[in-house]
């Protein structure tokens, strides 16, 4: 069997690794950037002053000999002929195709968004740009998700003056419920990061480069604007080819196959499934891409595979805080149609929340702590959810 993987991010490389391990014929991967790297390390690299190469994904010698990594970009899919056309003109034929094209940063469609010194924090080029800045600049971060807060903390520790603008009413809106999120906001403010909630940036102001941002209530001076407003699927390659979509993401089965037989998708380009509810969700996270990489390889190897979905397991360091979420937040659970009970408690250096469905099954856990000796009970969610829903 000939398998072509389009994309060499975490999901693409994991797909290749699993396909090779499963002995699935001839495997080729199309890599737009080389060497492959993982994006979620970029904030840490910025914070710790590490070389960008520390984001590289290790490719074992065996992988490099058993699979072929083709440098270039896929420009056209000929699904009827089972061919991928590259920008070099090379044509790759396949029996099965894996779309691992990843995502693109969402840039708010506002006036001035494209000014010089305004950029998304997404790939290697943005890391190198931010690493190159002299200290003491005024930097605005648009969006208070995990990427926004980690990059804000990193920029703060590099000696900049940082302000975060979040349109919703608390930070980490897709990760945490309000109470633990308040602890994160308080910590950031203690460390000198300005955090503005319910503050949507409506314009990036300046003549040739960034000078300020404007919200409905203020103008905030700025030398650099960093967009961290989320990720959208990178799906231009498959648009108009008849693949079923969920919103802007490629719809896949629970084993990773798209609506076209023999064409699979994973990672930030595709939906995934929530373990608790079994519902399709869009969670652009590397370990979820890796989950489907394994499933797809096993399916192509002819193994009988069943899968219910993924339990989110998130850990991030924001300033001096551990931010942990396992399973569902109450707000995400409610969005997926569950009736849940959220109970939070606080200590001097932590906030901990338990999310229970119908007052019984533990479906989510959130912990924000500055004290590492506070016990993390995240695993209780994994154990309980698997017992109840498997």
């Amino acid at each position: 069997m000939r398998v072509v993987v389009i994309g060499c991010g975490v999901g693409g490389v994991e797909a290749v690794r699993n396909l090779v391990a499963a002995g699935v014929g001839e495997v080729k991967a199309v890599c737009g950037e080389w060497p492959p790297y993982t994006r979620h390390r970029l904030s840490e690299i910025l914070r710790d002053g590490l070389p960008p190469t520390t984001a590289s994904i290790t490719l074992e010698p065996e992988l490099l000999t058993k699979a072929e990594f083709v440098k270039g970009f896929a420009t056209e899919l000929r699904l009827g002929r089972k061919e991928v056309v590259l920008d070099s003109g090379e044509v790759l034929s396949y029996d099965s195709l894996i779309i691992a094209t990843g995502g693109l940063p969402f840039i708010p469609p506002i006036k001035g968004a494209g000014l010089r010194n305004a950029l998304p924090f997404y790939g290697m080029s943005s890391l190198k740009y931010l690493q190159s800045l002299p200290k003491g600049l005024r930097i605005v971060v648009v969006g208070a998700g995990l990427v926004g807060l980690t990059v804000a903390s990193s920029l703060m520790s590099r000696g900049h003056r940082v302000a975060v603008f979040e349109a919703l009413n608390h930070v980490l809106p897709s990760v945490m419920d309000e109470e633990p999120a308040k602890a994160v906001t308080a910590h950031l403010r203690d460390t000198g990061v300005k955090v503005f909630l319910k503050s949507r940036v409506e314009e990036v102001m300046g003549s040739s480069k960034v000078e300020a941002v404007r919200t409905s209530s203020m103008v905030w001076g700025s030398d650099v604007v960093v967009y961290a407003a989320g990720v959208k699927p990178r799906i231009s390659l498959v648009e108009g080819l008849g693949l079923e979509m969920v919103g802007k993401a490629v719809r896949i089965t629970q084993l990773g196959e798209t609506s076209l037989s023999g064409v699979y998708a994973l990672g930030d380009a595709a939906i995934s499934y929530d373990y608790v509810t079994g519902k399709p969700v869009y969670r652009p996270l590397g370990f979820i891409a890796a989950h489907y990489a394994r499933l797809i390889a096993e399916a192509l190897a002819g193994k009988g595979v069943r899968d219910r979905g993924v339990i989110p397991t998130i850990y991030e360091r924001v300033g001096g805080l551990d931010v942990i979420r396992v399973g569902l937040s109450a707000s995400e659970a409610e969005g997926l149609g569950l009736t849940v009970d959220l109970r939070c408690s606080k200590g001097p250096a932590w906030v901990e929340c338990f999310v229970r469905e119908a007052g019984r099954t533990l479906v989510g856990y959130e912990l924000v702590r500055s004290d590492p000796t506070k016990r993390n009970k995240g695993y209780e969610v994994v154990r309980e959810v698997k017992e109840v829903y498997q």
């Binding site: 994991e14 993982t38 979620h40 890796a290 850990y315 994994v382």
Partner: protein
């Protein structure tokens, strides 16, 4: 030799830090607690405690790792650096804070030094014991005290 279990006798720990510095030196060639796989911490119920991997069975970290980077080898939970992308899913479920970020772009955890833990060898107070369970009573003549913590449990 049968299976060996790592015990911490918390009451004997004086926070001399020999285990911590030896670990960081042996594993990463530096004298830096952030590079150690073992930590001495203050905790509410006891004056001092020692945190390191308990090599759980089943191991939550191995269960959630989608990259196959955490393996159980002969009862020891081992992190395979080459497979780790530092997604930190393992850290989100470890109850003991036993997997840490060394700050150099890599996660670290105890691997029992391949079955001969250096921390045990250097502890001057017998606060760390790596023995088959049957030998424990000889090492602690007055019998296991309440402050004892079994780290390699259930194997």
């Amino acid at each position: 030799m049968g299976r060996q279990v790592l015990y911490v006798v918390r009451e004997r720990c004086t926070a001399c830090m020999k285990c911590v510095f030896t670990c960081s030196l042996v594993k990463d060639g530096v004298l830096d607690p952030t590079h150690a796989r073992i930590r001495v911490v203050g905790r509410g119920d006891v004056a001092l405690d020692v945190d390191l991997c308990r090599h759980c069975d089943p191991a939550p970290c191995a269960e959630v790792c989608e990259f196959g980077a955490i393996k159980v080898v002969n009862g020891t939970v081992v992190l395979v650096q080459e497979r780790c992308t530092t997604c930190k899913a393992c850290m989100s479920v470890c109850p003991f804070g036993a997997i840490t970020d060394s700050g150099g772009g890599a996660l670290i955890k105890c691997d029992l030094c391949g079955g001969d833990p250096e921390c045990v060898k250097v502890c001057p107070h017998d606060a760390l014991i790596f023995e088959p369970p049957a030998n424990l009573r000889h090492r602690i003549p007055n019998g296991p005290a309440e402050g004892i913590k079994e780290l390699l449990g259930g194997r």
